[in-house]
């Protein structure tokens, strides 16, 4: 939780913490920053092959990583919830068709699909969000559907239907409020997956070329040969940031899941 707060704050306060101009090689030249500078030479984190300070990239990178993670999750959760609720609630042919579709998308390997989508759509921030969003929804859809089915079984829905309530009324009054907590817990667990996906796509060069993200930093450092130069200050921090954010979202998500279902709390509790 605390770690998350720090990262969100850093992303929001990026202009205060770092200088956006430092993200451009031309500035680095103008300001005469040394290239391949270790943290000892130029604090706090040294510079890359073009003399751009790592610190500023890291701070601005958090914006992209968090934005993509959260925005893609919103898309995935909306699609997943709609498919799950409609399928589970309406039943019949609609449900069969949607379940099949979910199954298909579940089986298609995620990264290859995201790669072809990103390659076709072209690299931009919106497209990355879209690609991750439309490839991440099947898990949510399946979860929500089974939850809706079990709620439907419950007596109170039957009773309000018997009293002449419309389908929309039941959906709004009973089904949606009951699945909301699950949706939120699931969203918290989808964000880390989305962030990892963004990192992988950016590493493959499919990120927005005009924005710095942790994944694109790793890509830059890899293609500039930072490994051979042993420029650890370049590729170590972005990786650690990804792990920290992903880890905290995962732990918060598992904790939420546990609060919703005490049986799960037992089985997923993680020592800290």
């Amino acid at each position: 939780m605390l770690v998350l707060g720090v990262f969100v704050a850093a992303a929001l306060a990026a202009p205060l913490l770092a200088d956006e101009a430092n993200l451009r090689a031309i500035t680095a030249d103008a300001r005469d920053y040394p290239r391949w500078a270790s943290p000892a030479e130029l604090g706090p984190l040294g510079t890359d092959s073009l003399g751009r300070p790592i610190w500023d990239q890291l701070v601005y990178g958090s914006q992209v990583s968090l934005l993509v993670g959260i925005a893609a999750t919103v898309i995935a959760i909306v699609i997943g919830t709609v498919v799950g609720v409609v399928g589970g609630f309406v039943g019949g042919w609609t449900d069969a068709a949607l379940a099949r579709l979910t199954e298909w998308f579940l089986v298609i390997p995620f990264l290859p699909l995201a790669i072809v989508l990103a390659a076709v759509l072209g690299p931009s921030l919106e497209n990355i969000v879209l690609v991750i969003g439309i490839t991440s929804w099947p898990v949510t859809a399946r979860l929500i559907r089974s939850q809706v089915l079990s709620i439907k079984e419950r007596l109170y829905v039957e009773r309000s239907r018997a009293l002449g309530a419309s389908g929309a009324h039941i959906m709004g009054r009973h089904v949606l409020p009951s699945v909301m907590p699950l949706v939120i817990a699931n969203a918290t667990l989808t964000v880390p997956v989305a962030i990892l996906s963004e990192t992988a796509l950016a590493f493959l060069g499919l990120g927005d070329p005009t924005r710095v993200s942790w994944g694109s930093m790793l890509e830059d450092s890899f293609s500039a040969g930072a490994l051979g130069q042993e420029a650890w200050w370049w590729y170590l921090p972005p990786g650690l940031c990804v792990i920290a954010v992903v880890l905290s979202f995962t732990l918060v998500g598992r904790a939420l899941e546990g609060i919703l279902d005490p049986r799960l709390r037992d089985s997923h509790a993680v020592g800290r």
Binding site: E103, W104, L106, V107, I108, P109, F110, L111, P112, L113, I115, V116, L117, A119, V120, L121, G122, P192, L196, T199, A200, F203, L204, G205, L206, G215, L218, F222, L227, G228, E230, W232, Y235, L236, P238, G239, V242, I243, V246, L247, T250, L251, D266, S267, H268, A269, V270, G271
Partner: protein, 322 residues
């Protein structure tokens, strides 16, 4: 299991495959109505070049014509020629497949063996220090981008310590043929394999842990204990197999993730497999190659899932009887 059930499952898998193939068509020809323009945006093409490329990609004629031609070619495993090398896509793919199979196969087996064992121990001793440490490791490795892990291992073991080669599949000055060459290749594969193993054992451990915890409540384990079996015997003879059952489908699905991981890890270690091929095709971008690779990756996961479903009845007598 009856022949009818097998046939049903195979048909289901074929249905999924057909969906992927159709989806692929829509992706490249309908969503993006003019791939030529997209791919060469920013480059000046003459009209003649544009026409030639359009024909080359099979984009002339009506959408329906295109669809039939596409289906026909796909069924013959003809994905066109690579834009980069002008070789048939399928040849390039077959050439890269053995390397990926070796890498992904070895690391999947290792990650499964280690991860499942970790999950069993953690779940069986839930809440203890063992559990906390093992689950902690699992979640951290799960959270780590696999290619970044690869970069770290590469720096430490190849660059700093010089214990392993930094990339590729063989040493050009190394031995040719026979056992020597094989050992040299294994030496090159060690680091990427280690990377994928570490990156994915957490996934298996977490799946197995929650499965074991579910099983641990079962009455037949109490009975097994009352019989006088040792704790480890109760776990290995009675809990393990029952816990593996619900994990089978999840493990099969996770195979897709390992393949995805292979794309970035092969890139880091320049391992000449399908992953590196994908990475290189993206540079172009080499559209026919990407399509072929996407279809192949999807087919691989579908086949893997089918295998898991066909295997399931052998693990669970309750399903076999039906």
């Amino acid at each position: 299991m009856t022949a009818r059930l097998v046939a049903g499952k195979v048909l289901g898998a074929l249905g999924t495959l057909a969906f992927v193939v159709v989806f692929n068509f829509f992706l490249f020809r309908v969503v993006e109505s003019n791939p030529v323009a997209t791919l060469y945006r920013g480059r000046n093409l003459t009209d003649a070049q544009r026409e030639e490329l359009t024909r080359q990609f099979g984009l002339d004629g009506s959408k329906l014509e295109q669809f039939w031609r596409y289906m026909e070619q796909t069924l013959q495993l003809n994905f066109g020629r690579s834009y980069a090398t002008n070789q048939p896509v399928i040849d390039e793919i077959w050439a890269a497949t053995p390397q990926t199979l070796a890498l992904v196969g070895t690391s999947t087996v290792l990650a499964m063996a280690i991860g499942l064992a970790m999950g069993v121990v953690a779940g069986w001793r839930r809440g203890t220090a063992h559990d906390r440490v093992l689950t902690g490791i699992s979640i951290v490795t799960w959270s780590t981008p696999e290619f970044w892990l690869g970069m770290l291992l590469l720096t430490v073991f190849a660059v700093d310590l010089g214990l392993f080669p930094t990339g590729g599949i063989s040493d050009p000055s190394g031995p040719d043929g026979g056992l020597g060459e094989l050992l040299d290749q294994a030496h090159h594969m060690a680091l990427p394999c280690l990377t994928l193993t570490i990156a994915y054992l957490g996934e298996y451990a977490l799946i197995m842990r929650s499965s074991i915890i579910d099983v641990a409540r079962e009455d037949y384990l109490t009975l097994a204990r009352a019989k006088g079996l040792r704790d480890a015997q109760v776990r290995d003879r009675h809990a393990l197999r029952n816990a593996l059952l619900p994990s089978t489908t999840l493990i099969a699905l996770s195979f897709g993730f390992v393949l995805s991981g292979a794309i970035t890890v092969e890139t880091v270690f320049s391992w000449p497999g399908l992953g590196l091929l994908t990475y290189e095709s993206l540079r172009g971008p080499d559209l026919p190659m990407l399509q072929g690779l996407f279809l192949l990756f999807s087919a691989a996961v579908i086949v893997f899932n089918l295998a898991a479903e066909l295997l399931y009845p052998y693990l669970d007598p309750r399903v076999r009887a039906r």
